[in-house]
Amino acid sequence: MTDYAGAAVPALAFLAGGGAGAYLVYGRLKEKYSRALAAVSKEKECSETALRESEDRYRSLFENMLNGFAYCRMLFDGDEPEDFEYLSVNKAFEALTGLKDVAGRKVSEVIPGIRESDPGLFERYGRVARTGKPETFETYVEALKMWFSISVFSPAKGHFAAVFDVITERKRAEETLRRSEAKFSAIFRLTPFAMSLAAPDGRQSDVNQAWLELTGFTSKEEVLGRTSLELGLIPDEEARERILNELRQKGSVRNAELGIRDKAGVQRLLLVSLEKMEADGREMILTLMQDITERRRAEETLKRTAADLRAKNKELEDLMYVASHDLRAPLVNIQGFADNLARYFRELHAALGGAVPGEAPGGRLDGFLNFKIPEALHFVAGSGARMDRLISAMLQVSRLGRLELHIERVDMDGLISDLRDTMAFQIREADAELRVGKLPPCRGDREQLSQVFANLLENSLKYRAPGRKPVIEITGKTGNGMMEYRVTDNGIGLTDEEAGSKIWAMFYRADPKGGVKGEGIGLTAARQIVERHGGKISAAGVPAGGAEFTVRLPC
């Protein structure tokens, strides 16, 4: 403890005044002071008491100060600092480092391996102890995993005193800040979004490359220190004021729309987001701008197209509705009066006994009575009936387009099984075999989907190949986020042309003269229903003979 007081005085001075100048003064003072101390203790009783009181004050000060303090003697191996011995430490030393009872021990015992892990620290302490030049530095001590802020000086040759604070927390915070600043800076540079940093008065302090590209300015120099108004970027001053007001009130602005005029004078629509932030200790405004001119234009085009399409669709449906309605009215007459004519003629024919009075059989009028008139009536009635069926079919398709869809989860196994029951007669009549695999469920309007598969089944039954037992297979699987169902038959099959477009056209029938009944709207209706569900239907010929229909529906 002999050197304690000797070290204390300059240490205190160092803390109070800091710097090399203070050290030099007190270094010299210390010499005199210790000598005086020795002399005075022997010479004057009263002085001795005063001195002890002063020493006690310093001791107390060192003991109780919040900084750690260690007074050590450097041990050299030649010129190389090899180890040091703790002569004295204060309470804070223990509290800060967690090292206990170190006085009188070597650091190599207290913290084994420190010389190898922290050679820099040894070097600095050694230098101070040797040269007497104080040093102040911040260092990470690997052996303790701690950051220190250290002031070290040498109260006596070969000795050093370190006053330190543990600054690990601060260093960590600084590191975090540094990293986050680096991150921010990288984002600022690399983001494809135009970004700018401006002072609260709107003067640009930094802009990124994307900002320059968006606004058309060629260099930062043109921009920095000026406001967007001065740069002529914002033609609508009110809009700018509105956004800045929102920023003042809420502290940030999200995706506000703002029209700008770029350097070339081209109007652009932006989405801007603003945020108050601190940069370099000042409050700044960070602005992020996204050019949505093209996007908005595309959206508007799309919206217009969709509206046009809806209108066209509606027009078409209305046309179909009106046409079928208005075509029916004359048809009622054609059919009604053809019926009347037929009845009148039958009566007339009976009354005449099948012969024209005064004309021999085989004459011209006999030909009318017995062949031409009945034939003409037959054609009129037959065509009228067919026209009626076609109009009904047209109406049916036009109605399908207006029917509301009741979307629900559809159990396809159940749906097909029900269909098999309702179509049992047709299946038996065609002597067909229906093979149904396990079908995944889908989402849709059950009734309408049932119509789709009924139409497909009917189709397969109708267009069976002569002399071949019809086999119809229905399978299903999940694919590409959609449910995929296949109806495959071994019937007369399809040409590519038919599969691609013909069969989907209204009133198309593969075999209009043959015995196949129907108006040719089954597949038209099926496609309409599937497409209204957001699905797809396609057809293909099977090489071995037959057709395959694929229905894709949302799940």
């Binding site: 509705y321 009622v332 007459n333 009604g336 009066f337 207006r402």
Partner: protein, 149 residues
């Protein structure tokens, strides 16, 4: 306003712009044994004039019970408009109205019932079905409670 029940046969008013349809309906009525007096009006305007006593054409008479067969698609005032006007009138809303149309479009049917029609018939094209519809109509006319206007 007396609400007496009809003693004399109901007069059928047919508002129909298509001459052929009018003729067919009349013929089928007689074939179905419906012998009620029939008044033919040519469009919605004439029908409104008839019941509201406007214009120069024929008007409904007192002490006669009427039943209106109303075509939907007519030039000028169409059937649905006539129906709405009649049903909005305190006196005329008791008049039984049967709509006659060429289609069975659900939109039309809905609109007619919403406007308060008593029945709705589709004009069938085939004779046999037309005859059947008219027969049913005759039956309807014989049982419907028709009151004087």
């Amino acid at each position: 306003m007396e609400n007496t029940k009809c003693e004399i046969p109901v007069t059928i008013v047919l508002a129909e712009d298509d001459d052929g349809h009018a003729r067919l309906i009349a013929e089928h009525f007689s074939e179905a044994g419906v012998t009620n007096p029939l008044v033919r009006l040519r469009d919605g305007r004439e029908a409104l004039d008839f019941f509201f006593h406007t214009g120069a054409g024929p008007h409904s008479g007192p002490d006669i019970c009427y039943l209106l067969l109303l075509d939907i698609k007519m030039p000028g005032a169409d059937g649905i408009e006539v129906l709405k006007r009649l049903k909005a009138d305190e006196r005329l809303k008791k008049l039984p109205v049967i709509m006659l149309t060429t289609t069975d479009d659900p939109r039309d049917i809905e609109a007619c019932y919403a406007a308060g029609c008593n029945n709705y018939l589709t004009k069938p094209v085939a004779f046999s079905r037309f005859a059947e519809v008219i027969k049913r109509l005759g039956l309807f006319i014989s049982i419907v409670k028709v009151t004087k206007l």
